[in-house]
Symmetry: C2
Subunit: 422 residues, 2 copies
Amino acid sequence: MPLIVQKFGGSSVSDAEKIKHVAQRVLQTQAEGNQVCVVVSAMGDTTDELIDLADSVTTDVTGSREMDILLTAGERISMSLLALAIKELGGKAMSFTGFQAGISTDSEHGSARIWKIDPKRIQEAMAQGNIAVVAGFQGFSFENGDTTTLGRGGSDTTAVALAAAMNADICEIYSDVDGVYTADPRVVPRARKLAQIDLDSMLELSSSGAKILYIRAVEFARRHAVPLRVRSTFSADPGTLVYTSKPGEEMEEPIVSGVATDDTQSKITVIGVPDRPGKAAEIFQIVAEAGANIDMIVQNVSTTENHLSDISFTLPHSDRPKVVDALKGRQSDVGFASVTYDDEIGKLSIVGAGMKTSSGVSAKLFGALAKAGINIEMISTSEIRISVITRADQLKEATRVVHTAFELDAADTAVVYAGTGR
Amino acid sequence: MPLIVQKFGGSSVSDAEKIKHVAQRVLQTQAEGNQVCVVVSAMGDTTDELIDLADSVTTDVTGSREMDILLTAGERISMSLLALAIKELGGKAMSFTGFQAGISTDSEHGSARIWKIDPKRIQEAMAQGNIAVVAGFQGFSFENGDTTTLGRGGSDTTAVALAAAMNADICEIYSDVDGVYTADPRVVPRARKLAQIDLDSMLELSSSGAKILYIRAVEFARRHAVPLRVRSTFSADPGTLVYTSKPGEEMEEPIVSGVATDDTQSKITVIGVPDRPGKAAEIFQIVAEAGANIDMIVQNVSTTENHLSDISFTLPHSDRPKVVDALKGRQSDVGFASVTYDDEIGKLSIVGAGMKTSSGVSAKLFGALAKAGINIEMISTSEIRISVITRADQLKEATRVVHTAFELDAADTAVVYAGTGR
């Protein structure tokens, strides 16, 4: 019997009526002859409300034993309500916390990594005709049994990891968005929904700022070859298939699958770095010790006689203050001149598996941006992605002209959903 | 070092400000040279809100795996917030779910009984200078590790059970009421707060309808000789000591410690029961199979020649419909004439350890009620308690006249708290 893992996000279970709708939907999937394992997020804004509560009793809401217990309450509520709703409709359901689902992790509270999954209880429950309802986002430390959380997008990760552990036929990610688009439909009204996209390109889109799937979940799917389907809880549309290996034979791999944007990054520039071996390493060691994740890096090697260079890099807004502080604190040790930062940058990326074998893609990208009068401040590339940094206030315009230049525009305007966030 | 277990009810942790206040209070107790283990209920009305949510997705909200997971979310939230608040004030705290606290139970979801407590982790945490914060109301099944709940008043039970398991010096029960009163101050404005009361009398008061301490917790305290102190979160008043053995030497045991009332019972009368051995047993077998708890029983043995008797008993309102149905369904088997019921009864009890050695107590009780024109419908007694059934609408008046007759009235009117419920 085919096994399907279905993940429903917070907007899909935000009230009792929606939970009942999801109950019907999963029962329908089971009635079509599948074993069904359902992963749920917390209801609506529950997690944010819990963070607000914590915020009002403490100044430190970073990952800890206590924060993890607090935050996992939300998924425990939604999972038990969904199981009750399925039973109310005459179905069989059994709910599982992260612990009960056998999801063991390391002890990194707030952003634990899955160590091992033992899905025995879930598989037994499904074999007995139950729909297994699993709380997303949570696991337990294999060291001491404490509750842990998987960090942002953790419920996607739970679903994909369970699908991998149980060798599921597909992992369906349900939200209020009906698939993966060539660009954010709120910015590009003519964005097209993709019928399918390869996992490599999906990974690049996610890491370039597309919010539809969280990068850790996509990485997990890619490493374990789990096919995904991104679809809407509120329509019968098949959504977008994220395939693991090759597309259907008749399909040509598109040169550019989509345009992703990210306005959550800052740029830090370290000015006047002595142009000697090891200096860049010293700087990035300081950044790493401050606990920040760097995205793009550009080093402008000095051409003057003073042998000084500038190093610029991008990182999340939230990491910027601590990294600037850390760098300033070590300024005399390292011997650079000064540090500047810029919170008003935007990142635009084009992604496509066909870029590996096509030429002229970067020329077309830079030409379209130049024609629109948009300056490029930094560039980084991978085999199937080109990313550029622009001014933040030019990002939307940049997205539209690039979308048009690569002939991604649909004939019709896309349906724009009320809440295309998560 | 003395060990104190402190339990804070829902009204004591109903918002962030109150949680911060509780954090200060427990830190103060620790600073006075004690090890402190804190048990918390869910914030304010959280549990009722979760039940309402369940009620909107299912028609069956009785105890189940899923309901227990749902309901325990509330205590997980409050315990982690309290631990965070203690840390914010510079203290050391570690929080524990029922599972982490080692509270194993049977698998009776919704009303599990504690099987065994292994408080090792809590004791280790306290030895390291932490305040141990434990989620009340919850445990885990020793059979399969699933989350269980201890039923109404479960957080009191958690606190007393932990105090017993760790041989604590005292278990303090904090709420918005500052002690045990001779009667409900909302009904009897001149009710007096008791400085102390023996556990036997407290058990009778709780089982007779006094809401201040839940009966299961008091039973636990009595069985394991755990002294309790009932006091207010919001005042420095020492409250009421519930002592385990003997009061202070200079104290005489009061004849009557207090008056308790209960308006949550119904009376069922089975009319025309054949007056043969085994017939009463048949009737109470039917009642037991319907899952009802009986309180008082009166059998009016027939004096007529037809050898028929009437049996009346009281039970909670909520059990009345199913018991009446069950009896009607077996009417011809058992051979009784009919069943009637009455939801408009009230129960008044007087309780006091001194009643064992005093005479004239029942005469004084019945005299006071007769003088006020209040009819007595049923009577039951124990060594230290007399309970009578009256009309429901006469219960408050009955309480006042009995309170006065036993000279319990204070010189001044008692402070009546806004919410003296739980």
